[in-house]
Subunit: 431 residues, 2 copies
């Protein structure tokens, strides 16, 4: 008998029929001899609707009260799911984040989990009940106020709870069949990745793959908790995210699939960034530090940084970096305020860019990956604006209009598709 | 500086505009130098909408989960109200029933308050914040599960919290101007009752006056907590419900109003009952006990009971009683099962009845009240089917079609109207 934590996103419990379908899946897992703990998001768009209500009464609602409001969403979905389970003859027992022992800091709207003390969940399991836990929410250790963990954080709740309970694995149910070698909307031949390591998944998530949130994967890696991302609309296997030694449950589920390591796991794209270039920065010690201190002070996370070799004749250089598009105006404002101090010549802003990345632990031991990558782009006539690399990832910035062509060309160059898997609708998961 | 608990019903916070209007009233009370604690119901019909969702997933949802679901309603309204208060420059701090220390038994859907431990409310007051407490909900002392107190129980939450905090008085805001001498929809000349005693208000509530719930008045009487029932849509004084010695706050508010005790406080009607008659019951010791034990075993509360004098020739008598119309079928079924044992001849059921009552502490010392009452009905040509009395109330059962005429005739006979007050829309309060 395995202990399984199942997480269902908002699209899986969008209405009464969805809730009843999810209840049947949970009951089937239970009847197959597993102990099941469920984590659930709010129904469909209900969180957005609550947020709209808040906007109607206040232009700047306090974080504590916004968290109190938004946590009503999971309260509704988890109670309904428990009722639907009861209707199938088993006991569903719903718990708020606070009741489930999800202890956080006090940063309303983006609280971090400090500890999970799931005493009531364990009691429910001992009683033979199926605990249904609200995702996305917790309670502050110091103020005892209700907190939320930020968008997409129900996945993190699930993994944290699975780790605290010592679960065998954590299933993340969403509206796609798992993680694919590329976005099937762009590359119809893209195939499902049956198994991927934590660090590859981290790079994929950081590079724009939206199926799993970065934070959830970080948590899973830290605790060595295997994740199975799969669709709540089918019974197909999804993608296992694990360390390199597959656990028993995974090995069984992967029977018949090749276990050898591919060089490249997948291709990811991200259109959410913008590029800022400082032209003619004096090539002096400390200038870059001054610039990025100003960006950090504006609470902006930067991604790639490129600095040209200084032109000897002028003693000046150009510095480009990418940042989230939403922070574009704030970033430009911070740098404009710095012009006299730094003495750069011009500031350029470009949000018509896209980032394309290949990710694969196999590239560590295979030279020539960047040559294949850049060659594929050259053959497709695509200009590379910036390059950055990690040990298991290569990313380039290209023109926004070239993103789809680049993804298709690179996917083909690394021979990632095989046409076996049918492309499915590939959207963001619920929170 | 007074400590005031204000309760706002669902109709007062039905939408964003309502919430903002209520926030202004709260802030005005605070700025007038009072410490304010607010109890709020769910917005408009939102509790019914949640209940509909439950019906969609399960024909018989478990009480624990139904309570978890329904308590989402106040969570939303209280957070929005706190935001609207913040937008006016003060701090609103929302608390669930559990956070506010409303400790109950474990009867889901109709839990009773065991204790109120409002430590966090007192801390909020000390901090200068305005605590906003969810009405209708609490937490079970034994299971730590979320409970609800039943329909209309937000009034009870407010009074219980006021008592635990040692508040000066409790304001119940609703959509009518207070308690009237009769339903203004039936008697346009009905006037607002400026002051009424707990026991009169208990009789009025028990006889069908829906402005305040019976349970809330019982609680207020037990703790001697003055209640001011008034409209959130006007600034007019409402009705003070107190013991016979008015407190300082009330005396000030009632300045200029006659303090002498009227003989009759008001006329109430109730169309929610049915009448069952057992014809030809053998006149033996213990028969009535047997009959009403069967009714009690079916968890039915009976109201009036009338037993005719036994006819000496037959040794048989008739017994009639009234019960909530919703329990009519269950009551008949319980009695049918008893026919052989009791040996009554026939069972009659009538739900086309109405109850009309006059209530007034003054009737204790004024003879002739029943003569005036019955005389008014006779003049109006209305037949009386049953009569019951308490020390401060006389009730009759009449034909359903005669109820409005009876109320008007009795109101006029006791000279209760004076035309000073304008009739207002007179509906049920929120919960």
């Amino acid at each position: 008998m395995a202990l399984v934590v199942q997480k269902y996103g908002g699209s899986s419990v969008a209405d009464a029929d969805g809730i009843k379908r999810v209840a049947q899946r949970i009951v089937a897992t239970h009847k197959a001899g597993n102990a099941v703990v469920v984590v659930v998001s709010a129904m469909g768009d209900s969180t957005d609707e609550l947020r709209d209500l808040a906007d109607q009464v206040s232009p700047a609602p306090p974080g504590r009260e916004l968290d109190m409001l938004l946590t009503a969403g999971e309260r509704i979905s988890m109670a309904l799911l428990a009722m639907a389970i009861a209707n199938l003859g088993l006991e569903g027992r719903s718990f708020t984040g606070s009741q489930a022992g999800v202890i956080t800091d006090s940063m309303h709207g983006k609280a971090r989990i400090i500890d999970v003390t799931p005493g009531r969940i364990q009691t429910a399991l001992t009683d033979g009940a199926i605990p249904i836990v609200a995702g996305f929410q917790g309670v502050s250790q110091t103020t005892k106020d209700i907190t939320t963990l930020g968008r997409g954080a129900s996945d993190t709740t699930a993994v944290a709870l699975a780790a605290a309970l010592g679960a065998d694995y954590c299933e993340i149910y969403t509206d796609v069949d798992g993680v694919f070698t590329a976005d099937p909307r762009i590359v119809p031949a893209a195939k499902r990745i049956p198994r991927i390591s934590y660090e590859e998944m981290l790079e994929m998530a950081a590079c724009g793959t939206k199926v799993l949130m970065l934070r959830c994967v970080e948590y899973a890696r830290r605790y060595g908790m295997p994740i199975h991302v799969r669709s709540s609309f089918s019974n197909r296997d999804g993608t296992w995210v694990t360390d390199t030694t597959p656990p028993a449950g995974e090995a069984a589920a992967m029977e018949g699939e090749a276990m050898e390591q591919a060089i490249i796991s997948g291709v990811a794209q991200d259109r959410g960034e913008a590029k800022i270039t400082l032209v003619g920065v004096p090539d002096k010690v400390g200038e870059a530090a001054r610039i990025f201190r100003a960006i950090a002070a504006a609470a902006i996370n930067i991604d790639m940084i490129v600095q040209n070799v200084s032109a000897a004749a002028t003693g000046r250089t150009d510095i480009s970096f990418t940042l989230p598009r939403d922070d574009g105006h704030a970033g430009m404002a911070a740098l404009r305020a710095l012009q006299d101090e730094v003495g750069y010549e011009r500031l350029l802003y470009d949000d018509r860019i896209g980032k394309v990345s290949v990710v694969g632990a196999g590239m560590r031991s295979h030279p020539g990956v960047s040559a294949t990558f850049f060659g594929a782009l050259a053959e497709a006539g695509i200009n590379i604006e910036m390059i950055s690399t990690s040990e298991i990832r290569i990313s380039v910035v290209v023109d926004e209009n070239d993103v789809e062509m680049a993804v298709a060309a690179v996917h083909s160059a690394f021979d990632l598709g095989d046409g076996e898997e049918q492309a499915v609708v590939y959207g963001g998961s619920g929170r």
